[in-house]
């Protein structure tokens, strides 16, 4: 209803504004302080679908999953007090991974604010460290502008979560409503300007003069939609690309220049390439401790270019030689014409030597009677033809997914990288399913992680979303157990974890469920699950003591990886390559 004036309540204004922002799905949970808004939803239910979650943390992860899959802003809604505090983990997850979500919370009526009223909490204050920005709306006439601002702040620049806290009386008040069309007044918020030509020519000459360059592709490649530009740079100048966990999918894993993931559990060849490089081109990544290892010995002989939209990330962990504060895609579109065509066979040969070396360390090539998590995940890759949207959780399965599921398209891997939030995957997949209608959606989750948000199975069946949940069950909090094995003399304190009978549990929810404990049953069972229109669940019983290799111990040098011992290479039960290194 652009331009025309009508008398609306605060609650109605909220929905009107969400519709103006293009929102068609909201994940939430009603309660006292947000009831007026839920009551008004009745009027808008044809335009906005509301998903009733089982826990407000789930609502935020769903909004986050929706945002990561679609590139649009996800919306979560909750009541005051515990409803709002339950959103903190989800906001922190979105904050660390630069995911645009807007969280709307009800608040106690404004005259009661500060009186410790029932279900009152200062969520605007509590959310400051975990949000990009937050608002408390104390005047109904500010409401529409605040919502517009919140969406703009959430999606622009480096995206992130924004909270809007709205007291109950503001929702109930009425005002003459005109949708505000004037420019937003945000004097302190300016996403970066254009890049200067000086930087462009410096960038180009660093690349053209380098002998052993490596591109580090981060989440910024996806957020800036710069996949094409990154590949153009790589192909033109023959530069190998290593990705961060969140950068996976930003460049096609099947491309010969793509080395896969770097860092703590990255490929040894990718880490060696970084350590040996003479130029690092960091594209939308932030040199997290999980990708650098020991900063003192990190890529010691390289010049470093850092293209980053958030200036406070530049020089934070790694000091760089050329810092470009700008949108990645824009920078590369300027730079690429100045890049000389080059073939760097010597450099690529060195890296592929490292790569081949690790074939004898790959668990997929081992002879084994038991189903290994890595094998199950590789089979999921085969069974989905590498084309699924994967939502992984946090732990060993997450790292194995990153190693063994090859992603060729942007936004096909959603995972909690920065915060490492266990319990992220199931709700995030539910959220993503409201955008992704073409690809199959697979949740890959451990037995520890699934039990953190398992109540969202209820949401999955109530909404009948088409997702497949693969629980990789090894009976342990596997990654923690791995650390205990390696660094705490194998004292497995509080890491063995029991599980319910997942098949029975799923069936109690009305969800189709299966159990697999052998490699040959993986694909046939997946086929059954994929035929279901609604949710389905597969429990994979896997080898209990698997360890994710390679591993850079926390704080160790990036090239100082603990690797799986060399062994003979098997294919279909036959030795095809004898172990060469003793």
């Amino acid at each position: 209803m652009r331009g025309s004036q009508k008398k609306l309540s605060g609650a109605e204004i909220i929905w009107e504004c969400l519709i103006q922002e293009g929102v068609d799905v909201v994940f939430g949970y009603p309660g006292g302080a947000i009831l007026h808004t839920y009551d008004a939803l009745n009027k808008y239910s044809e335009k906005i679908h509301h998903v009733l979650v089982r826990h407000e943390q789930g609502a935020t992860h769903m909004a986050d999953g929706y945002a990561r899959a679609s590139g649009k802003v996800g919306v979560a809604m909750a009541t005051s007090g515990p409803g709002a505090t339950n959103m903190i983990t989800g906001m922190a997850t979105a904050m660390m991974d630069s995911s645009p979500i807007v969280c709307i919370t009800g608040q106690v009526p404004s005259p009661f604010i500060g009186s410790d009223a029932f279900q009152e909490i200062d969520i605007t204050g509590a959310s400051i460290p975990v949000s990009k920005h937050s608002y408390l709306v104390m005047n109904i006439n500010d409401l529409a502008t605040t919502i517009r601002e919140a969406f703009y702040v959430a999606r622009s620049g480096r995206p992130g979560p924004v909270l809007i806290d709205i007291p109950k009386d503001i929702q109930n008040e009425t005002t003459d409503f005109i949708y505000p069309e004037e420019e937003l007044n945000l004097p302190g918020y300016q996403p970066p300007e254009d890049v200067s030509e000086e930087y462009i020519s410096k960038f180009a000459s660093l690349v053209n003069d380098a002998e052993k360059p490596v591109i580090l592709a981060g989440h910024g490649v996806l957020l800036s939609n710069a996949s094409r530009e990154v590949m153009e740079l790589a192909e033109k100048s023959s530069i190998p690309i290593a990705t961060t966990l969140l950068g996976i999918g930003g460049v096609p894993d099947s491309h010969q220049l793509v080395l896969g993931m770097m860092g703590m559990h990255g490929g040894s060849w990718a880490n060696h390439a970084i350590q040996d490089a003479d130029l690092l081109i960091a594209c939308g990544m932030r040199f997290d401790d999980r990708v650098t290892g020991n900063l003192k010995t990190y890529s010691p002989n390289s010049k470093k270019i850092h293209i980053e939209i958030d200036p406070s990330e530049i020089n934070k962990n790694v000091k760089v030689d050329l810092a470009i504060h700008a949108d990645l895609g824009t920078v590369l579109r300027h730079v690429n014409p100045h890049i000389k065509k080059m073939v760097r066979n010597d450099w690529l040969d060195i890296i592929s030597g490292w790569h081949h070396d690790s074939k004898q360390r790959d668990i997929l090539n081992l002879k084994s009677d038991k189903l290994h998590a890595a094998q199950a995940i590789r089979k999921i890759w085969e069974g989905t033809k590498g084309d699924a949207l994967i939502v992984s959780d946090v732990g060993q399965h997450q790292m194995l997914e990153a190693q063994y599921y090859k992603h060729n398209d942007p936004r096909t891997l959603l995972t909690s990288g920065g915060l490492g939030t266990m319990g992220f995957s199931l709700p995030a997949a539910i959220g993503a399913s409201f955008h992704e209608k073409d690809r199959g959606i697979w949740v890959i989750v451990g037995d520890g992680s699934i039990q953190m948000t398992i109540m969202e199975l209820g949401t999955a069946i109530q909404e009948n979303v088409n997702i497949n949940i693969a629980i990789i069950n090894n009976g342990y909090l596997g990654m923690v157990r791995q650390w205990q094995q390696m660094f705490y003399n194998a004292r497995y304190v509080e890491t063995p974890i029991s599980s319910p009978d997942y098949v029975k549990l799923a069936e109690a929810y009305g969800i189709q469920a299966y159990r697999v404990d052998s490699l040959e049953n993986v694909i046939p069972t997946m086929e059954k699950a994929q035929k279901n229109a609604g949710p389905s669940l597969i429990e994979f019983k896997v080898e209990e003591h698997e360890v994710v290799y390679p591993m850079v111990p926390a704080g160790a040098d990036l090239h100082d990886m603990i690797q799986r011992p060399f062994s003979d290479v098997y294919e279909n039960g036959q030795i095809v390559e004898k172990e060469t290194a003793k």
């Binding site: 605007t124 204050g125 400051i128 460290p129 990009k132 920005h133 408390l136 702040v153 007044n185 945000l186 004097p187 302190g188 918020y189 958030d310 200036p311 406070s312 530049i314 020089n315 934070k316 000091k319 810092a323 504060h325």
Partner: protein, 187 residues
């Protein structure tokens, strides 16, 4: 090295909370923060002094502040020509015999006695920080019972204009408010 930042912020509830939360969360060492109304309605002006020897960390402080949505502009004036002052109130217990000595210290530092009670005096001074420190040192022989310092406030020298929140630089020859370059913080 001390880093002095002049900051313009929207005068909205919670802004001070956001800034102090940032310093605590990022583990930046804040030395003083002074805030008050500016020449423009709805805009407050702050002088923040941080104590961080590492240049790239100083850059991180600068850009983290600038990133806050309610922060309109930040200028790092650490090495720019500025007038910098601090205000102090000092209360002493003195006997009438000591008053002359106190007076001579007060005069030497262009301070003033603003209150004389029963064997107490309150002294005020407005000076650069190191002179304030000297003043305190010279009053040490007397019995100091209270010190209240404001922390540093700073203002750049040169032609300037009334800042409106949408136009940071009004005229070309005004002292500028454009953000610092990242390269300014590279060692």
């Amino acid at each position: 090295m001390k880093q002095t930042l002049i900051t313009l912020v929207e005068n909205k509830p919670g802004v001070l909370n956001r800034i102090s939360s940032l310093f605590r969360r990022r583990n930046f060492n804040i030395e003083s923060l002074v805030v008050g109304h500016s020449e423009t309605d709805g805009v407050s002006r702050m002088t923040i002094v941080a104590n961080e020897p590492d240049a790239s960390k100083r850059g991180n402080i600068y850009f983290s502040l600038l990133k806050l949505v309610n922060v309109i502009a930040v200028k790092d004036v650490s090495s720019l020509p500025c007038v910098a002052r601090e205000f102090i109130l000092i209360k002493l217990n003195t006997s009438p015999e000591q008053l002359n000595e106190v007076n001579s210290v007060v005069k030497k530092y262009s301070a003033r006695i603003v209150d004389m009670g029963n064997e107490t005096v309150i002294i005020e001074a407005t000076e650069e920080e190191h002179i304030i420190n000297e003043l305190i040192d010279n009053l040490m022989p007397f019995e100091i019972t209270e010190i209240m310092r404001t922390g540093k406030i700073a203002m750049r020298r040169g032609r300037t204009h009334k800042v409106s929140s949408d136009k940071i630089n009004a005229a070309p020859d005004d002292i500028e408010w454009r953000p610092e370059q990242i390269s300014a913080y590279q060692n």
